[in-house]
Symmetry: C2
Subunit: 431 residues, 2 copies
């Protein structure tokens, strides 16, 4: 078994070779503390003349940040900190000492500089930690779906039509002067697949040519869509809850060190358990007005509303049954109140806000044709989608989450651009 | 626990409700055999007046293909076939009986008709089975990487530059008259991420605006790229082998029914074990010439060459060390022979051919600058990529696989368009 920093506990008192990079170094002529990293974690390497020899001392002195190197030494537990391990260095073999000073130092850099150097910024402790939490969220999602009879159906990115209007779409010249658009959601395709497989999900990039410059917008981001046949609005919320619980459980199991690097208070995450809070849109509007909001009866929750509401409770909140007229054509109406859609948004606590949106889908051909007309959409565009209501239609529901928003909430990251490896913004396409 | 066909074994002699569709029906006035499906599998439902009652007989008679329905009945083991279960139907509740005849019947349909109706064709037995095998391949890939310290790094789809030339790229008008291209590979981005995380992979759609109309080309397909720091060409091949072994193991564990539906002979898959065959390009050229090929010393293997070679052996074949001059600029040269690249293609057996391509990457700044010049590429485009050789460069390797090609091989599917849910071809962007 080769040595990895994350497994240091298993190597106490053993001599190992760490292959990685020197993140930083402090100390003077008598002792050097090298902060080492190997991709799986960070560890301190201690260099003294007594333990490490003269040659190592000389090496340690001349190494600069981001030197790649192999370091040999003995692993020991930190005298004061539990679950922290150090290496008493016996040999340093540089692989490459940068000829130029590493551009990212400990001092404050502006966001443009950091984003221009995203290919290097990814190595910084917090950026490293965010990506590892993101990875856990991805794996916990796959795990939950595999355990619950979902299969992955990759919906297409190149699509002939817009799902909900053509604004905010990136357009491509396809062959023979055909026009293609980059997908904003795989939902309609999953509705086809669910009639074959019962339960499906996709998980891929989606695109919005939106001219918004907020901390919650990216032009390219990763979205997970799930769709379930023979599943109503209520069952769908239970699945959403199960998925979120699995994600939080796995992050708390696997990423305590990452969350510590991010200075994320984990107590609010530990408090989360099912069942989540369920409130109707009407209840939420009334509650928000009491709290001072000027939200209207048919309004979506504004960013301030979401913040106010989600700071009030420890648990995520399902906001159900929005006024149907402000929601998408494919949403089924509430049989108890035709004016409401059987939909829900899931709001994350601590002021974070919306992370999931979902609904039961209208499964009746005549009704959905009427909705398409009401929404002034072109029924021809939905030809194949309507087939799903002609041949063995069934009650079905689905929901979608934005990976960057969930990562932002769980890692406590203010701006969503840090939650994706290479952010694409209205003014940023590089590196 | 609710009933799913794939778990029928656990419900023998129990009364259950199946929620799904009637795939087909045969029989006459005395007995009906309904072929039922619920997304997780197929099962026969037997309807007789004695066991099912008069009402069920009337229902069974009038149901047409792709009726959605709930069927109540008792599960029993098939009298002759092991691992096959049936339902003695006691109640039939149609959800929707199609008003129009289902367009896809048992008779032969042309490929254009089937592709036009891809949203329905996905329900056919073989198409269902292919997607389930594809799903297993996806999950086995995530599993292998999680078990081997890789994390997922989503490389961007919208990219400012071409990795290897601008032909075959889809172009997009980004904001403010900037031009973006759809990614053909995430490799260069993973090379940045690997310096932070040690081992990373991506798995997402890539795009080729190639005017090829062969059974092995799609304009949009799913690609997995893996990249490893402190990893040479030889170690990379071992990882590729481990990944492929895990994929085959999981498919043979989970998808025997699907492979039976596909009439896939599983014996060749069962024979596969490590170590795979390793041959140099020069050895392969000599071997192929002896077999009658006119392949030149610097030629890539043609489709016929791959077929001929891979039919000769039971195991996958690594073809290593191609002449460097015909390979990409970023490939490291063989220290034992500067004219060769430290690269490999993995060829699947049974005549299938290439499924993985990989190489060790050139990690020296001066050498890679020389290669960029030799390949007449613009060094400015590679600014950030060159930074990776300036600051703590390390030996690193990577490889990529095409999901549809692997799925095609394992499922024995002739045309790659059936291995992706919604294929995009030069003349097909719909549904």
């Amino acid at each position: 078994m080769s040595f990895k920093i994350k497994n240091a506990r298993d190597f106490v008192d053993q001599e190992v070779i760490m292959e990685g990079w020197m993140y930083n170094r402090r100390g003077s002529g008598k002792i050097y503390f090298m902060q080492l990293r190997d991709g799986t974690g960070f560890m301190q390497g201690i260099v003294t003349e007594d333990e490490s020899g003269k040659e190592s001392m000389e090496q340690a002195e001349k190494l600069t940040a981001e030197t790649s190197l192999r370091v040999t030494g003995k692993i020991s537990q930190h005298p004061k900190k539990e679950d922290t391990f150090e290496m008493i260095v016996t040999k340093i073999e540089p692989v490459q000492i940068p000829a130029e000073e590493y551009p990212i130092s400990k001092k404050e850099h502006g966001p443009d500089f950091l984003l221009d150097n995203r290919h290097l910024w990814l190595r910084s402790g917090k950026q490293w930690a965010i990506q590892r939490v993101r990875n856990t969220i991805i794996n916990a999602t796959y795990e939950y779906f595999a355990d619950n009879d979902f299969i992955k159906i990759d919906s297409p990115i190149l699509t002939p039509n817009a799902c909900e209007g053509t604004t905010e779409l990136f357009e491509i010249n396809y062959f023979d002067d055909d026009t293609a658009y980059l997908s904003q959601s795989g939902q309609l395709y999953l509705e086809a697949a669910v009639m074959s497989h019962g339960r499906v999900f996709d998980f891929g990039p989606v695109f919005r040519a939106e001219k918004s410059k907020t901390r919650r917008h990216l032009t390219e981001f990763w979205m997970m869509d799930a769709e379930m046949a023979y599943c109503d609005h209520k069952m769908s919320m239970e699945i959403q809850e199960g998925l979120m619980m699995n994600i939080i459980k796995r992050v708390l199991e696997k990423n305590m060190k990452e969350l510590a690097i991010l200075e994320r208070d984990v107590e609010p995450l530990k408090k989360i358990q099912g069942p989540f809070i369920r409130k109707t849109h009407a209840e939420v509007v009334a509650e928000l007005r009491e709290m001072g909001s000027d939200i209207g009866e048919k309004d979506d929750l504004g960013a301030d509303d979401e913040t106010m509401l989600t700071k009030k409770y420890d648990l995520p909140i399902f906001v159900e049954k929005y006024p149907a007229e402000v929601k998408a054509f494919y949403m089924k109406r509430d049989p108890e109140n035709e004016g409401l859609a059987l939909c829900c948004d899931l709001l994350a606590p601590e002021g974070y806000g919306e992370i999931i949106g979902g609904s039961e889908r209208e499964d009746n051909l005549d009704i959905i044709l009427k909705r398409i007309e009401e929404h002034k959409l072109d029924p021809k565009v939905f030809d194949w989608y309507l087939d799903l209501r002609k041949y063995g239609s069934v009650p079905h529901s689905g929901f979608g989450y934005g990976l960057e928003r969930i990562t932002g909430w769980i890692t406590g990251t203010h701006h969503i651009r840090e939650t994706i490896p290479f952010p694409r913004l209205i003014n940023r396409l590089r590196p």
